[in-house]
Each structure stands twice: as C-alpha cells, then as structure tokens.
C-alpha cells in the first residue's frame, strides 16, 4: 500500500516537471496533460527504483532509529499509506520519506519513548534541512551550465566523475539484502581509570 501511495504522489511530480518542460518548449499545447510515454516512463522509473532498493535507508529506518517489531511496522505502514493516499486525493504533494519516517518514529515512540535513538533522528532532520538549499544550488548551477558552451560540458563531466567516485566509495561497505538486518556493533566504552 505504501508503494502504491508512493506512486500516486511522487510519480506525479516527475510527470509534472517533464510535461511543463514540453509545454515551455512548444512541443505540447498549454492545456494538454502528460503524454502516455511520460506516464509510462515515470511509473517505470519509480517501480525500478523501488525494486533496486536503497538498502541503507531500509537499515537506517528499520534498525538504527529503533528496533522495530512487527506491530509497529504494520502501524507505521498503514498510517503512511493513509496519509499519502488522502493527501494525493486532495492534491497535496508531499515527501513519502518524511511521512514514512514520521510514522515510524511515532509508532516506535508509542511503544516505548526511550527506545527511540533521537541522535539518529537529529541527523535525519539535519539532512532534510540541508537538502532544500543544496538542491536549489545544484539546480541553479545546472541551469547556468546548460547556457554555457564547452566549459559547461567540461564542468558537467567533472561533476559526473565526482558523483561516480562517491558512488564507488559507498560500494566499499555495501548494504544488501543479506546484511540489512545485521545489528550494528555497540560503540566501545572507554575504560575508567
């Protein structure tokens, strides 16, 4: 249900951006909806991304936030699906990640407040706060580069190389379906003298 809800909300954003680009480029009439190929490609991309996983995110939300038991997981999934589907029906675009994470925190805190690792929650909130300006900066730089010639192409190639390096670095300790549920080792306690 959460995957279905995810598709009803997040795929529409991608379709909207592509359709708006086609309209501003004069390919589509101003009052036209998204073409079938846009719908199919956006839906396929979301389905493929869901299939490929993001095992690090699964481990963070399933293990690092707290130890989630089956009832908490079911409650969080049901709540997330209800919030996202209702919002989609009323036309609100929201973040599936934010809703799901909030539902998990609520479900875990409802069982035992002290079991939530609030430090991990703080890291996630910091990441969310940084995402907005960082995406704006990257979008602005990308728009500027698209108007430059050879220099912009070189910068774009270097940026792609840096991105590939970051991806390769993340593969040194991969998280897969085999180790996603491994409990992280406890931090060493300093010896008291």
């Amino acid at each position: 249900m959460v995957a279905l809800a995810h598709g009803t909300n997040d795929a529409q954003k991608t379709m909207g951006v592509i359709t708006l680009t086609l309209i501003t480029a004069g390919v589509l009439a101003p009052d036209s909806g998204p073409p079938l190929w846009v719908t199919l490609s956006a839906g396929s991309a979301i389905a493929l991304g869901t299939y490929l996983g993001g095992w690090r995110i699964i481990r963070t939300l399933g293990n690092r936030v707290s130890e989630i038991q089956t009832p908490q997981g079911f409650a969080a999934e049901t709540t997330s699906a209800a919030v996202i589907l209702t919002s989609s029906h009323l036309g609100f675009a929201l973040s599936t990640t934010h809703v799901t994470t909030g539902a998990i925190f609520g479900a875990v805190a409802g069982r035992r407040l002290a079991s939530v690792r609030w430090g991990v929650a703080g890291q996630m909130v910091l990441g969310w706060l940084l995402t907005l300006p960082a995406a704006a900066v990257v979008g602005g730089v990308a728009a500027w580069l698209s108007n430059t010639g050879t220099a912009g192409t070189i910068v774009a190639v270097v940026a792609v190389g840096i991105g590939a390096g970051i991806y390769a670095a993340s593969r040194r300790r991969p998280v897969t379906a085999d180790n996603v549920n491994d409990t992280p080792a406890p931090l060493p306690v300093p010896a008291r003298v």
Partner: protein, 79 residues
C-alpha cells in the same frame, strides 16, 4: 501565501481514523485467529478468550471490514 487549513484538517482526521481503524481491525482479527490454536507455543495452560468458531467469525468479520475500508478508500481515489 494561503494555506488550505481545511484540507489539511481533512487529511489529518481521515488519516487518523483510517489508520487506527485498520490497525485495530487487523489486531482483532489476529486475536480471533489465535483462538483457533488450542494451546499457544510457550503457554500450555492458556485458555483463549474465544471459542474456535467465534474466533474464526470475528477474524473473518474484522478482515472483511478492513478490506472494505481500504477498498472504499481506493475507490474514492480512482473514481
């Protein structure tokens, strides 16, 4: 900037109601299904609160209600 507070309130109320209702219905269905087991693992002298027939009936009703609730919600979105 105008914020559609009314729509946000609808989202909050509907999500709360549906979320609690579906979770409660599935929980009651599990209670009913657990009554079908004569003696749960690790609790040999435990007597289930319902008989086998009543447990099955409760589970069927609760699961049907949960499926109908979710199905009606999907119908409202798709229709």
């Amino acid at each position: 900037m105008s914020i559609a507070w009314g729509s946000l309130l609808v989202v909050a109320v509907v999500s709360l109601g549906v979320g609690v209702a579906v979770v409660a219905l599935v929980a009651f269905a599990l209670v009913g299904l657990s009554a079908r087991v004569a003696s749960p693992v690790g609790r040999p002298h435990h007597r289930p609160p319902l008989g086998r027939g009543a447990g099955t009936t409760v589970a069927g009703l609760c699961l049907t209600a949960a499926v109908l609730t979710v199905g009606y919600g999907l119908y409202l979105i798709l229709a």
